[in-house]
Symmetry: C2
Subunit: 299 residues, 2 copies
């Protein structure tokens, strides 16, 4: 089945020890939509300005992404500027220009409202709530967030969590939200707020899935050369939900495989800047790395 | 088959956010020998002083550990005092009293020299080399070390690596030895110094195994309550080699299982101070956690 992705579409300026890009395609919805598109049809809801390069839209469309929900408004596209040092887990934000994002209040197109798989990529939780209200009957809602919303919009975020099936956060966010340093305790505290599953991403250290009935841990796919970690978490989430939506049944086994596919998608995206690496891979590459990953983690 | 363990036997003073112990049983050889003893017979080579409590020796013997190679000399036992804050990966060393360890030059008992499985636990690499010279024909040599020897005895350590089949280090040590921040590159650099396999421990983030022909990654066994991380790496190594020595054949599959058993043993030891947790578990507990661990990592 298809999935609906709502989040930011951005023009990023990123510097890492391995290079830099200016006005590159970025944004939480972009990374996750393109990642999910390898597993099925994707509909994208977001906002950009007239400055958003036409070839970026062509790129999305070439990935079988329905961009009818992408509002192209008068004004400037949201822009994030960041810098990574050798600690590639934590970027330093140099500048965040909200621009059109500041007044983004999405109108979900009528033909999107019946969507069953929804990914609420990182964006203001009020926007996430507005989208939830507009959808008729989503079957599986996955929500991502970031430290800023935990600090400034915790109330709205808690409402999002109540209405979501799966929450995706990183380890620092899980600790910050829960006040628990131990990840198992943090996960339990997050589960108490409503989601059926909590995924805690740990960057280069892998990822864990928590539910009241089972837990699952996976290492990262170790790479020798890494160019730019931007969007790794979004790409993970897109691959995760994209794979799930492609399954005829969803159970513990498919959740675990979905985590592995998400990990593999993230391992590709960090090999180059922006979404450049995803332009060059096929389902065959994904499958080969998945098989390799299984071999290097199974005992 | 039985294994021979050479390393430190210590009296530890440890403080963590969860409590403290004074003059507790510790040392690299102690943790690894007791851990390995769950899988088969262990022979221990080390040195202690007359101050070493008799009940600690009884405890080792009760674990089927042959202590004929434990020299009880006139003088004081090696003692380590350390403190952990909430970052449980990195203890602060408050005091290291070498005492008898400073002049430790082991004489391997004649009946130990035919041992086929040797664990050179963390100790001065000159001591490790002396043991290697005395053994007739070890089949599998596993060597551990620490940052101090990398900084001060790199030449001797390199000789140990040349004569070892498997090197066990943590991520910081791997980076320090190789000068490579990327773990894959660091592992390759270490492999170039002779060992057939390199194991890089990453504390609460799991562990990786590198060989020229395959790699293997495993997360840690996540615990809700952790009391004292002291000896986790030694306990890991003891479980790893103990399991291998119990196998009728050693291949890629048994190496991976051995890593999992090592991880499980480490997950037990950190649940209490000193070796207290290992006093209370049985093979059945180990097997149950192993099965659970497999379930929570397989996809």
């Amino acid at each position: 089945m298809s999935i609906l992705v709502v989040g930011t579409v951005a023009l990023d300026n990123v510097t890492t020890p391995f290079g830099k890009v200016k006005n590159a395609l970025g944004g939480s919805a972009t990374y996750s939509a393109v990642s999910a598109s390898f597993f099925g049809k994707v509909k994208l809801v977001g906002i950009v300005g007239k400055d958003f390069p036409r070839q970026f839209i062509s790129f999305l469309i070439s990935h079988n992404i329905d961009t009818n929900g992408l509002d192209i408004a008068r004004g400037k596209t949201f822009s994030w500027s960041g810098k990574y040092t050798f600690d590639l887990n934590n970027p330093q934000t140099l500048k965040t220009e909200l621009n059109l994002l500041a007044r983004f209040n999405p109108n979900i197109p009528e033909e999107y409202k019946k969507e069953r798989f929804l990914f609420l990529a990182n964006i203001d939780p009020h926007v996430q709530l507005s989208v939830l209200k507009q959808l008729y009957r989503p079957k599986l809602v996955v929500a991502d967030t970031m430290n800023y919303w935990i600090e400034h919009e915790k109330k709205a975020l808690k409402k999002v969590m109540q209405k979501s099936d799966i929450l995706v956060v990183n380890d620092a966010e899980a600790r910050e939200f829960s006040g628990e340093s131990n990840l198992l305790k943090a996960a339990k505290a997050l589960l108490a707020h409503g989601p059926l599953l909590v995924i805690i991403k740990r960057g280069e250290h892998g990822c864990s899935l928590f539910s009241p009935s089972f837990t699952f841990h996976i290492p990262a796919y170790l790479l020798e050369d890494l160019a730019d970690p931007t969007g790794a978490g979004d790409t993970f989430a897109g691959g995760f939900l994209g794979y799930l939506a492609s399954c005829s049944r969803i159970n513990e086994g498919t959740f675990k495989k979905a985590i592995a596919y998400g990990t593999i998608m993230a391992s590709f995206v960090v090999e180059d800047f922006s979404l450049n690496r995803l332009k060059k891979i096929t389902k065959k590459d994904i499958q080969a790395r998945f098989i390799h990953f299984r071999k290097m983690t199974r005992f």
